[in-house]
Amino acid sequence: MSIIRFVNVNKWFKQLHVLKNVSLEIAQGEVVVVCGPSGSGKSTLIRTVNQLEPISDGEIWVIDQNVADHRTDINALRADVGFVFQHFNLYPHLSVLDNITLAPIKVRKQSREAAEQKAVQLLERVGLAHKKDAFPSQLSGGQQQRVAIARGLAMEPKIMLFDEPTSALDPEMIGEVLQVMKDLALSGITMMVVTHEMGFAREVAHRVVFLDHGEVLEQATPAEFFSAPKTDRAKQFLKQILSPMH
């Protein structure tokens, strides 16, 4: 039973065909890593899941609702789908605690006490309980991204989406964020993760999806994908990604 299902999805930006006939299923509890060269359409693909990017053609079923159908309550659906951005996108004018409690209070109509209690628990989980009164600009990139993950989890989502969550971070901060994501992956939540962190993929992903020029070229277990990529383009891509230069 898949929780996310792309059916012949196409997406154009004006003349630019960004997603080409994408069909893809992600099962409940599955951790899927999406990789591919820059500009291949990874961000666009993951953003279509919660309609941050509307699609031109096809269907996307998320938690049994077609997100491309205008009758779908997209706000309610988004509340159930967490999204972590490359650039964190914390609300700069709100404290860490308020960043996390805003949506639970406004969308889930939780009481402030309940929301804050939950927020503190989540901050403990990402190791930042002591920063609850800080403002985003007072945190390092790694800390901000961990707060952003806690913010997403505060809505108790059924799915978590990550769009290159570590690529804007200084190298020494990547580990702390990946650790939080690994813990999360082991908790059984469905995750779709755009990343080039192959270590993460090997360790916790159930499947790797390789995207190139808007097409899904390969889908395989990490072990298969890394050891025996089928297409030349995937081979080429892996060579670049795994080269010491990178």
Partner: protein, 248 residues
């Protein structure tokens, strides 16, 4: 040539044939100036925020109306707008309403000035707010929407609070300008500070005019300076710790 005889006490002189004093006229004028400018500012902030926000909405129709409003009110000189509200509008509405506006409306010059100046300044505030919203990182809007906030909630809780902080400096200059612009209200019978200056320096008395004009100028400077301090105070109060405005 004989030197000009400065006489700063001229404003404390009695108005010929009355029991009034010129300084009383100035104080009364200042009172109306403050009332007009501050009331118009409230209108400008509320309406300007709505219109500036509307210009950034995905709905083309709403954004188009907002754009039309801004272009219309920003490009017609304020004095013409006030003239139209005061003299033209009453002739365009049904006669009984027009007559009410002309004869029974309390303080018609003041109220029309407040509304006219408010609508004019709203167009200018709207542009600042729009610029402020567009200056925010694109991800901010998505960060609100992605968590299930409605577009309205995203504006209310995510975009506008930051947009306001970003635009406080340009808003400060709009706020200072509104006192200066309120002087145009004299043209539709509002007896505000600039009117009183013209009244005193007209036929009333030769009363040393240069002093009166200088004093009124100083009052405007003082008012604008106070407006600046108030905005700076607000800017400090709402400053986000560690956030460098315009950053990222």
């Amino acid at each position: 040539m004989s030197q000009y005889q400065w006489d700063w006490l001229v404003i404390f002189e009695n108005v010929t044939d009355t029991d009034e004093f010129y300084y009383q006229w100035l104080i009364s004028g200042l009172g109306w100036t403050l009332l007009i400018a501050l009331s118009a500012w409230v209108i400008a902030l509320i309406l300007g925020t709505i219109i500036g926000t509307a210009r950034t909405l995905p709905n083309k129709f709403v954004a188009g109306i907002a754009t039309a409003y801004v272009e219309l009110f920003r490009n017609i000189p304020l004095i013409v707008q006030l003239f139209m509200w005061f003299f033209v509008l009453p002739e365009m509405v049904p006669t009984n309403i027009g007559n009410w506006m002309k004869q029974d409306m309390p303080h018609p010059g003041i109220i029309t000035s407040i509304i006219g100046l408010g609508l004019f300044t709203a167009a200018r505030v709207a542009e600042q707010i729009r610029t402020g919203i567009l200056a925010l990182p694109r991800g901010q809007k998505n960060a609100g929407l992605a968590l299930g906030l409605t577009l309205a909630q995203t504006y209310r809780h995510v975009l506008l609070p930051m947009a306001f902080r970003v635009v406080i400096p340009p808003l400060t200059s709009e706020f200072m300008s509104i006192f200066k612009n309120s002087a145009v209200a004299y043209s539709i019978t509002a007896t505000e500070l600039f009117f009183q200056m013209k009244q005193i320096t007209g036929d009333y008395k030769p009363a040393n005019q240069i002093e009166v004009v200088t004093i009124v100028g100083l009052i405007y400077i003082l008012v604008a300076f106070s407006a600046n301090r108030i905005m700076t105070f607000i800017e400090r109060r709402v400053q986000v710790p560690g956030y460098i405005s315009g950053g990222k």
